[in-house]
Symmetry: C4
């Protein structure tokens, strides 16, 4: 077991190469935000853009486009019904996030199945929120290529793995993870990240001021943004998890509740600090 | 009579438990904002979210969803016509606020009656703005369980209680409150809170810079957010009332008019200050 | 001729009475913002609200409601077609502003005629932007009660008065103003305010960084907000004009262009400074 | 070859004339932002307005109007289908920008052809993003009057000029530019500006933190805003390019990724600094 520390940030967050263009930093597709939960995918998009992803398209219910652009003109948008265009942007994506505020209806399951079916060997897929519930809801197969990341909180993990809260020991979680194949970011008081490798990562940070709606959507957006830019793998996921909590802990010094959007706001400054090469 | 003071803040605003999740800090439903008064429920939502409520769903006219999400992606939304979903979220709510900008039409009275009918013993209900007027307008019964809070200003209290401004003495107000059963937050120059207990609370703070549209919507949102997280009862209502005025007084040192949204903006910082345990 | 100075601010901007409520600071109706020029009435509303008006309803094309609420939830809204409601809010208004971004179509002239027809003796009316052009366009009668304020720039004044730029001398302007009866705020490099009294006011402030779209809409909103709260008359109009330029001059110290919304943003702080009673 | 330096800013950014009005600083029309790419034209508009253009109309898909006004009420708007109005505003424009987020569909090509056909001798035209691709896509003639500016990145320039990346030497670029007639702002790691004059400008600034979606839209908006106000020509284009990178470099000192909107935000302050006359 590896205890995450600031080292992971120095290791993962690279100084950007001088010769580069926006494509260098990844093409991302974010899928979520139905009629009711549009805010979720907006928060994911904020975290993704502000962590530095190169080009971000958000696929969300059309009613959410205006609020998204009012906050974040840096995104491109598609509605759920624009099927042809959706498959075009998915085709070119380096990283895909599906789930924040997606809901559980027919549109949601169709999109999820489409994404799973078209995922290519070099594409990473982050599965969060509603999309996790869709697996139990629709009894989908739980066997994934290793470039897949699940980000359940404990209740979602219970439904996904069949492990009750009390059964969610590291040993059991690792056994389940091995069966599923995907990387698991198990969100809790102390988030743990399981991979099919022997080791797994634990996040020592986080605070109860972060227990508020949207915090998970923001983390999912950060993981996606990090995977778009940095070496795709456990370390990069670990860095996103650690930085999310580190900023949250700093903000909680002066704030009773830490609003998720304030974490995204702080990302460019924090990432700069760790990108500077150490002697 | 108890004069509210900073003590109420220290007493009510608890340091959050280390082991907790967003559900720990309450599920809130806010109902209001018709075609004309959408801003009212947006301001309530801002106060509620920024005071730290865990999960907040706003039921409002669909035309308001975009502006709400542009300001506050942390909320979930439902339109007035999504009846099935409305009853699902009401079922799970810890605290419900109805009224800010709700209006007086058929939709409004239908929603109010639905909320009153389905209120459960453990659910708190805050009745503000238009919803107060609906009681006089539609001649509804004024007998409530004690986990109900009315937040009338003096003219609304007149219509509700039948007491003219000049008759609104503490004695008369307390007598009326005893008949109604709900807690009464009577908003005025010096807001007073009446309960069926012997004592009642008076707020010594507040200033005329706060006399601007939306100030009451913000207070209603704060009371709701506080009830979602802290011990449900008079002290918690008193703390919300006191803090609302305290922040307003501080802001008025440098601002001719105190915009309601600037009070909400300051909430996380102020609440942190009082949450730190005293020696 | 009176040269405006800081004295006018100290004289007009009163410390608010301790016992007061939002109605004390005026009910305002702002009419403008068609499909094309929605931003204009949004900027007027910002200036009006942030100068401290008590209750503000904005009548504007429905497509503008969402952007208005996203920036300013403190406003209430009506669409142009909500005729019954429009006449209800006009009935209760203390001050009405018509014109910013209103356009020149049938809806616009209908609204203008409706406002002129229903204006009551105690209601002040500010006529700005498109509404000024409507008078020449539709050949409307130019005879007004003295509680009317026109805010033309020089080209609008030419169309309204028939005076070419070169003929717009103080003498000619005053003669024309006497015929029209309304107060004239003639906007230019050095704005002048004409009344049917002997004296007229000149504004010594202002700078070319303020020459940008929306600056007039902001001034119209400030005049309206000031008339809602302070003694209705020339001094209050003069104070709004002076403060608008004073803030603009201060902002231009550090900004090449002074965006109109940055003036509104600064209003609460500036007004506080002048509201403090002098020894 | 001229290496751009701060001198170009001092030379181009003039102190504004005391006697002036918003028309003095240019009438601008921005065309772009379809259903999917609305954010692009919003970012162009922010750069244009905040660089000080006098009056800005944005022609964009109607679904983008609300987000645009929520961020920037200083703009006027038209939808793509408002043909009569579009030709009216084009008629009066000093500078036109077409392309950011415009897309490649029938509406896009119709607008582009309309703009090219109606461009007048004294009107400058900036062609960016999708509009550049439309030339190759629809095989349009590549012969332009010298008051035309193309702003391709290297891949767009390849499609436009037929020069592969490796063939894009200064010599070849200048030869191609001479054939086309328009000025070319070739965006890359070190942006170069080609004119039919002998000299061409190179920008020594810029950093990889700026490699993110929307950076080009922002530059296009700045070039347009600068051309609206300052002497129309190479120096003014050079100043916009240089300042865009200069602000980007400063922001990158503290930010891992430089969001395009943060560059626009800083424009009024930076431009002020350079507008102050040097001894």
């Amino acid at each position: 077991m590896v205890q995450l520390s600031e080292d992971i940030l120095h290791k993962v967050i690279k100084k950007r190469p001088e010769i580069s263009h926006k494509g260098t930093f990844g093409r991302v597709v974010l899928i979520g935000g139905n009629q009711q939960y549009g805010g979720a995918i907006i928060m994911s998009a904020e975290a993704c853009i502000k962590s530095g992803a190169g080009l971000t398209t958000v696929i969300t219910a059309e009613k959410n486009h205006s609020a998204l652009h009012a906050r974040l003109p840096e995104t491109m948008v598609l509605a759920f019904w624009e099927t042809t265009m959706i498959y075009q942007v998915l085709e070119q994506a380096d990283v895909i996030l599906i789930g924040p505020g997606l809901g559980l209806d027919k549109t949601a399951i169709t999109l999820l199945k489409g994404v799973l079916k078209t995922q290519k060997a070099q594409q990473w897929l982050v599965i969060d929120g509603s999309a996790i519930s869709l697996f139990s809801e629709y009894n989908l197969s739980l066997k994934f290529p290793s470039q897949t990341v699940f980000t359940p909180h404990q209740a979602e993990w219970e439904r996904l793995s069949g492990l009750s809260f009390i059964e969610q020991t590291d040993e059991n979680n690792r056994a389940q993870q091995a069966l599923i194949g995907a990387k698991i970011v198990l969100k809790s008081h102390r988030t743990t990240i399981y991979d099919d490798a022997v080791s797994y990562y634990q996040n020592p940070l986080g605070n109860p001021g972060m227990a508020t709606g949207g915090m998970g959507d923001t983390l999912a957006g950060m993981i996606t943004g990090f995977l778009a830019q940095f070496e795709k793998g456990m370390d990069t996921i670990g860095a996103a998890v650690y930085l999310h909590s580190l900023i949250g802990d700093d903000l909680s010094e002066k704030n009773y509740v830490v609003l998720p959007t304030t974490i995204s706001e702080a990302l460019p400054r924090y990432m700069k600090k760790y990108a500077i090469e150490r002697k």
